[in-house]
Symmetry: C2
Subunit: 343 residues, 2 copies
């Protein structure tokens, strides 16, 4: 029946439990023949290992924890599902589990880390939403909890991380505006506590600098990562004596807010003022004109994150040897155009 244990297989083949176990784990002191027999019996009996016994005996939880980003109450990350699907895909291949953790606050998160470091219920963690100066890198390192960060921080050089090349993305975006003929290019950035905010500012600055365009401090506006944030920031830009003709926005959500502000001023996004967002949100295509943006392959990122953590835990690689930069891709829709000559 569903009598599923090593013992039943052992009895079935007149072998010992330990032999069966080692056969399944591909030990080299088990003959090929025996391994074949065992594997056949496994499928025949529909054996499924008891992971709790495995984990207790081996000492390895084979279980990865994903810390859901809390970002002050509102978490409506549209990529969460895809990200976790990517992780799960990579993990199920090797029989690991994905469990989710929710931290309500920073203190709560740290407390959670401490418990984990004692209980050792998880092989490692994946954290996201990294800050410019993210204390979690040091805390987790000190607690000796293996982890991979989705996003970098100032002090991440000896840790393992995967990040988009934010600087490159916004460098490219700005260069793109320049090649379209724009010279007055503003940037609406996110709160500077986030590392990606700073990186994106850098990219924007670098492109302007390289082209010899003077960087006007008025053309850099900080915004909350929300629709309203984008609207307010754009309002400010439109109060300047001299408008920008193009605006690179830190996110699609912010760009949508900016577009509404533009319309409120009786201007047309993509005409008088070009703009681009970032994230590749589907809904950007639903509005008129559809928002140009940049995307990243989220599912792949999730898979990579999981695989990196497994490398860290299983193959005991050095964290600093596992760092990966992925590139964002242009998704031109309707809001990146040449500046109007009449304007």
């Amino acid at each position: 029946m569903s009598n599923s244990s090593l013992k039943s297989i052992a009895k079935n083949l007149s072998l010992s439990v330990s032999t069966v176990s080692r056969a399944l784990n591909d030990y080299k002191d088990i003959s090929q023949n025996t391994k074949k027999l065992v594997n056949e019996t496994v499928v025949e009996l529909g054996y499924q290992p008891n992971i709790f016994a495995q984990r207790l005996a081996s000492g390895n939880p084979e279980c990865l924890g994903f810390v859901i980003p809390w970002r002050d109450g509102q978490l409506n990350d549209p990529f969460l599902g895809e990200l976790m699907t990517g992780m799960s895909t990579a993990l199920t291949e090797i029989g690991w589990d994905l469990t989710v953790l929710v931290a309500k606050s920073f203190e709560n998160e740290v407390e959670l880390f401490k418990k984990l470091s004692i209980s050792k219920n998880l092989s490692g963690l994946i954290i996201s939403r990294t800050l410019r100066n993210d204390k979690r890198f040091k805390i987790l390192t000190d607690l000796k909890i293996p982890f991979v960060a989705h996003g970098r921080s100032l002090n991440c050089s000896s840790s393992s991380w995967l990040d988009v090349d934010n600087e490159r993305a916004f460098y490219d975006m700005t260069k793109h505006f320049i090649s379209l003929g724009h010279r007055k290019i503003a940037h609406i950035c996110g709160p500077k506590v986030y590392n990606f905010s700073m990186q994106r500012i850098e990219g924007w600055k670098k492109a302007l600098f390289e082209t010899g365009i003077q960087i006007k401090s008025d053309f850099l506006q900080v915004a909350d990562l929300s629709f309203d944030g984008g609207k307010i920031a754009m309002d400010k830009l439109l109060k300047l004596k001299e408008f920008p003709t193009a605006v690179s926005c830190v996110s699609d959500t912010v760009a949508m807010g900016a577009m509404q502000s533009i319309r409120n001023h009786n201007l047309s996004p993509g005409k008088e003022i070009s703009l681009m967002g970032y994230d590749g949100l589907e809904l950007g295509a639903w509005i008129d004109p559809p928002l140009s943006t940049m995307t990243q392959p989220i599912q792949t990122v999730g898979k990579d994150l999981a695989e990196m953590l497994v490398n860290l835990v299983k193959d005991k690689k050095k964290p600093s040897s596992l760092q990966k930069l992925v590139r964002a891709n242009f998704l031109r829709r309707g809001t990146d155009n040449s500046p109007m000559t009449t304007f």
Copy 2:
């Protein structure tokens, strides 16, 4: 140090391991005094139980699996994060874990169920995206896997589920249009394989029937649950000799598509044609005019789902005794208005 085990506590108090264990589990054959001592030592030594040992010994995984909905490749459920946060919140309170499962297809999902029924690695499952005639209810019941469904099905009477009162919601929505003066009210529904599609149709029909408004079959359009789906469906409605003046849409996404169609026909959403969506997507507020819709308290739903499953597993309640209907709430924004008299 981090020498954290029952044994260390036992040694510390000159008690036996079994006494400590029973003290922690609040057995009644342990004196109050001993319990107090044990609990104090626990916090003093910072003891964290080894969940794998616990689960192996007790036989209860204390672990809940959430099956991420696959819906043909694209899964961008904006509520996923909130839903899981709700679940996790309820579970951490009682020390349970939440692990996620991804099924790539229906066959894949069934295979996964079968494995689970043997390995018993999970205490139970939460499934979502239920179909009108969802085979999973019978499969899981037959496999004796405890589960709670987020959403109903035709054959769910003896199972445990939590669902929104879809019929009520769309009944209310339609009645609302009627009270605004509309008489020509169409409905764009989702694919009829989904149970909620049928329920929402029912609600719409019921309100019309009650009011004595004849139900025109042309006024019911099936759409994919996407922006394009909504657009196409609305296009069809606008090809009719006689337009509807109000349209109730199965989802916000579909409603957004419908709005674009309306604009493409040089009409104004909320003026010539009122419409409402469903889901309460934030982005509905970002467009002009902002989309009226209906919402449900997702985090609470997640928490309830988890608690129901715990009741099912721990307190061994009958599945049919755990069924819960929650109500959706109006979120009036800008697209539900009285019909234009001049139209």
